[in-house]
């Protein structure tokens, strides 16, 4: 079982920063709106700030937990994803069942040269939050060659 690349922690920290920003913008908009509509209560701003603090703090403190209990494994025959400690999830996806693999890269992941991948079977889809370019390519090639084999057998 492998862990995600270390730099994912930094990405999670950044995305916590973005949610901080989003809440902040929301708060500012609310503040401006109270100037125009006097019926908006001023304690609403307090609630927004409180939610902001709670979300950002929870997101940041959970980073080590998320990192420590997020494991995956790509073998010859299957992909396995394991996450969580208090609520543990363990998924196995046989490569023969995989229909397609999507490599996604948002701006944050691009800076760290990482990919997030989505493995789609006939219906369900599963995410691995980040893989290095090399690992993502290995998985993709593996799936493609197995899919070709399966077709040849037919």
């Amino acid at each position: 079982m492998k862990q995600l690349p270390k730099s994912i922690k930094f990405i999670w920290l950044q995305s916590a920063g973005f949610s901080f920003l989003a809440w902040l913008i929301f708060g500012i908009i609310y503040f401006v709106m109270t100037k125009f509509w006097s019926w908006l209560p001023s304690w609403g701003l307090g609630i927004i700030m409180a939610l902001m603090v709670i979300e950002v703090v929870v997101e940041i403190t959970l980073i080590p937990y998320r990192y420590a209990f997020y494991k995956y494994q790509v073998t010859e025959t299957d992909v396995e994803i394991q996450k969580g400690f208090f609520f543990r999830k363990d998924v196995s996806i046989p490569i023969a069942r995989v229909q397609n693999v999507d490599l996604n890269q948002g701006p944050l992941l691009r800076l760290q040269k990482l990919y997030s991948i989505t493995i789609a079977t006939g219906g369900s889809s599963h995410d691995v939050e980040s893989l290095t370019h090399q690992e993502a390519n290995y998985l993709k090639d593996r799936v493609m060659s197995l899919a070709r084999e399966a077709r040849n057998e037919k």
Binding site: D78, R88, V91, G123, S124
Partner: protein, 471 residues
């Protein structure tokens, strides 16, 4: 390879559909001014539209594909290779029998909802046979085996008494009764009844209640009869035939429905038993298919056998689908801890609700009411705990069973059909060594998740290991 038009009778179907549309629109328009003028224009448009559509719809039986052209302003051509046709469904109204004309639905197995279904509204029998022959020919392996085994077809017919019990025990009656009851409640029909019955009461003493209960009984009997007739119309002469790798289902009284499908497309077999049918030992067999939009009659699952005796169910189904073993394997039923967990989980909301009720209302009526609900919930938990179990029945197959609201559901599925497997375990379950098991199985165009909760960890881990290391 010539362009063909559909049978002229297509126009009847088109007109009939447009007539329904016309009345729907007419009701919407009725409040407008000059409604008659608009209605006439609308009627003319809806009358002419089928003629244009009929004239523009042409199809060709090509060498390798079925080609369909349609559209007046926006021309459309669809090319459907024979080998891509997933299943073919034929429908024939009784009045079309003399004309040898049927409706065909062709499932192309395409991903998008719109593109996966092609309807040839009215076509001559001969042409449908031709399409089916072409499709079978493009599937070379099946034709060669078919030549050898053509006599070895297996057949299943539903017996009349079973079908009658099936109709009577269908849960529709309760929903229908409930709908009528809420209708009566809402529109105060009861008030008229009361005044009416009071009038009679003055003549015949104390018989008001008698009349009402007689009315209710008549209503129930009426609904039963309607249900029986509906089921008979739908499943009349239900015949399931297996020819090597192809299944054919034929049913219907006024409208004969014929479906051909390949056993290779079957993803899972589900055997269900509702509470009422448990009393009669009857079961329903449904299958999950890769693409079943044509044939889906309820919630994407496809009825293989609407009713069959419990004693013989696996023996019968085994003849048609190898996923189900001939002799039903015995499952180890769930233990007391599972029963407790299921009861507890569903008791929590009930207890909160009854606490709220006791706070606001007092009286023996409420105590008895909540007491009964609590009892039912506990019984349901015990029943579910007893019935939830999984088992690996051979090298490549699982048998899984659970229940919901006293309805039993047993699923047979093979390794090749399980898209992914997921285990879930919270930290509290870890202590007691329990795991939730989730399977994802293809159904229609997406997946269906089958969940089995609070199973013993050792058993589930063995299954997970088998699943992971199978290939």
């Amino acid at each position: 390879m010539k362009n063909r038009r559909l049978n002229v009778l297509t126009l009847l179907f088109y007109w009939w559909r447009n007539l329904k549309l016309f009345f729907a629109l007419f009701i919407l328009l009725i409040s407008l001014q000059r409604v008659m003028f608009l209605a006439i224009i609308l009627f003319l448009l809806l009358f002419i539209d089928p003629i244009i559509r009929y004239l523009m719809f042409r199809y060709t039986l090509g060498k390798n594909e079925l080609l369909v052209k349609s559209g007046l302003i926006f021309k459309k051509e669809r090319h459907i290779p024979y080998e891509r046709i997933q299943n073919i469904q034929r429908k024939q109204w009784f009045f079309l029998k003399p004309f040898h004309v049927e409706m065909v639905m062709i499932d192309t197995g395409a991903k998008t909802k719109k593109a996966n279904k092609l309807e040839l509204t009215a076509v001559n029998d001969r042409i449908i046979d031709e399409i089916e022959k072409q499709r079978n020919q493009s599937n070379v392996e099946s034709i060669s085996i078919k030549a050898i085994h053509s006599q070895n077809s297996t057949r299943y017919r539903i017996k009349w008494p079973d079908l009658l019990i099936y109709a009577i025990t269908s849960a529709n009656i309760f929903t229908e009764l409930f709908i009528i009851y809420s209708f009566v409640e809402r529109y105060n029909v009861g008030k008229y009844f009361k005044s009416y019955s009071q009038r009679i009461e003055s003549q015949i003493e104390n018989s008001g209640w008698l009349i009402i209960s007689a009315l209710v009984i008549t209503l129930v009997i009426l609904l039963l009869i309607i249900n029986v007739i509906r089921v008979i119309f739908k499943y009349y002469h239900f015949t399931l035939t297996r020819d090597d790798k192809n299944l054919t289902i034929q049913r219907g009284l006024l409208k004969t429905n014929t479906i051909h499908l390949s056993t290779k497309k079957i993803q899972a077999v589900e055997i269900r038993q509702t509470v009422l049918r448990q009393l009669f030992g009857l079961m329903t067999v449904t299958i999950h298919l890769i693409s079943d939009r044509n044939g889906s009659d309820d919630h994407h699952s496809f009825t293989l056998i609407p009713v069959v005796k419990k004693r013989v169910v696996t023996r019968v189904v085994h003849q048609f689908c190898n996923l189900v073993p001939e002799n039903c394997p015995q499952l180890v039923s769930g233990d007391g801890y599972m029963m407790w967990l299921f009861s507890r989980n569903s008791l929590i909301p009930v207890l909160i609700l009854s606490a709220a009720i006791f706070y606001f209302y007092h009286g023996i009526f409420w105590v008895i009411g909540t007491g009964i609900i609590t009892l039912i919930v506990i019984l349901n938990g015990i029943y579910k705990g007893y019935n939830t179990s999984v088992k690996q029945i051979n090298d490549s197959e699982l048998m899984l069973k659970t229940s919901k609201n006293f309805d039993n559901k047993t699923v047979f599925v093979g390794w090749h059909q399980i898209q992914s497997m997921k285990l879930r375990q919270s930290i509290w379950m870890k202590k007691r060594q329990r795991v939730h098991l989730e399977l994802s199985i293809r159904n229609g165009n997406d997946a269906k998740i089958f969940e089995y909760r609070y199973l013993p960890e050792a058993k589930v881990n063995a299954i997970f290991k088998w699943y992971r290391d199978f290939a």
